[in-house]
Symmetry: C2
Subunit: 274 residues, 2 copies
């Protein structure tokens, strides 16, 4: 029996499982879509990861991640571009639906977020020809504003869509409920993303109250306050019917549990709360 | 010698000083504007606080705070309204420039942020007649989206201005750099707030990298990545020339230092980085 419409971002089982164990864990539960991270792929080897994916007919809802474009100098920005070109090749080798982008925050020592945002746009323009040649869709993930300084200076769906619009009709967005649930313009942003055919991925987890760490205290679906069915309805109404990808960073809770427990919980919750 | 253009939000010295000590500390450094919290006023007594303020000719750039409108039931919402009516009376007694509003987040058990936002608007409409009769300006403070669940479901300047626009021409906003610095629409939001004569307060502190606590790890001005002069220029260009109010919640750092050290640092930084 397969679990339709569910993808597991392998960050979710990072606490106990590498790439191969996570794939086995997914397959054992009828989950046939995954989204790995580049370090997890590198640890097993790109060719071996691609072999496992193709052998098992897995759908790859995204490769995490490209981005981190801003840097304090030209050399740093070029290094980021070079790394993103490699990420595109990896996404192509894995047959990923898209390469997910966490675009980067302020360069060290900078307080100029407008300049950082320009560096992001310039970086995308530098890699787009290669992405197009490799047929790898690029998905800009707007990150919660609490990450604006150190992880991503693209912080609303509207901002991501405006950027995608300047980059080209083939650039999209990843809509992660954790980052966008609070946005008073969320409904119109999702509808617009659908009209523009830019929804490439739909990530889910939950926002805990209280949240004890800015990065590593995401909640299991159902444990927080995000209206998951409400957002899913909007995403589906906008025309995206790909899997919902569960991505949970949880250093002090879920990453300390065995992968089996994490996945069993995800599957049970997915059936009841999403 | 006075420090022109500086106000101290008394949360900043909460770690070591109550109302009277904080006033003495400000006066000793030539700071003649403050913004107290209601619990600090209550601890010394409203009449005594008003006496101290008037005796020393202090400007009160705001009273913190009203708000917290959403609740799970009618009784809870009415209790919030009643408390806000008292807050208005206190702001009037202190001669505060405005009453600052942290509007509240999701009621316990709710995932419906649209409903919470409606409760906020309904709450404001319930208290506005009393605020107008008391001649107390109400300042909606949009809070950073990381507080949307548990503290304030008004999370962008645009959203606050839209709400203020529906409430009336006499309702304004408090622009706190900590909450809005990341907003890609900040410049247009500040300009609009100026055009509409809605800037009632300008709060400053800094965003630390890393930030270790969502609520209580604000930085001293100059220690983080917020472009304070850039935002100040926009606020002044929009027509607001009131004091910049330093408001720092810092449980593990500044609240553990003596008030003298905190204020000396604020004054030195204010002269060099703001």
């Amino acid at each position: 029996m397969t679990v339709e419409g569910l993808s597991i971002n392998l960050a979710t089982t990072r606490g106990s499982w590498g790439f191969a164990e996570a794939v086995d864990g997914c397959l054992a539960r009828g989950i046939t879509a995954i989204a790995p991270w580049r370090d997890q792929v590198a640890a097993v080897g790109l060719d071996e990861a691609a072999r496992i994916i193709h052998l098992n007919g897995l759908k790859v809802t995204g490769l995490c991640r490209g981005g981190m474009f801003p840097a304090a100098d030209d050399a740093g920005r070029q290094a980021a571009i070079d790394d993103n070109l490699r990420a595109i090749d990896e996404a192509a080798a894995l047959g990923a639906d898209c390469l997910i982008f966490v675009v980067g925050g302020l360069p060290k020592g900078s307080r100029d977020i407008a300049a950082a945002r320009q560096m992001v746009e310039d970086g995308f323009n530098s890699i787009l020809p290669h992405a197009r040649a490799a047929n790898v869709p690029l998905a800009i993930e707007p990150l919660h504003p609490m990450y604006a300084a150190d992880r991503a200076c693209v912080n609303t769906l509207k901002q991501a869509l405006d950027l995608a619009g300047r980059l080209g009709p083939d650039v999209g967005v990843a809509i992660d409920v954790y980052h966008v649930w609070w946005d008073p313009e969320l409904a119109e942003g999702i509808a617009r993303a659908g009209r523009e055919n830019r929804i490439f991925a739909h990530h889910i987890c939950d926002w805990l109250v209280p949240t004890t760490d800015l990065l590593l205290d995401r909640g299991m679906i159902g444990d927080g306050i995000i209206d998951l069915p409400g957002i899913r309805d909007k995403v589906e109404a906008a025309g995206f019917h790909g899997p919902q990808e569960v991505e949970i960073f949880s250093a002090e809770n879920w990453w300390k549990k065995p992968g089996e427990v994490v996945l069993d919980t995800v599957v049970e919750r997915f059936r009841t709360v999403c």
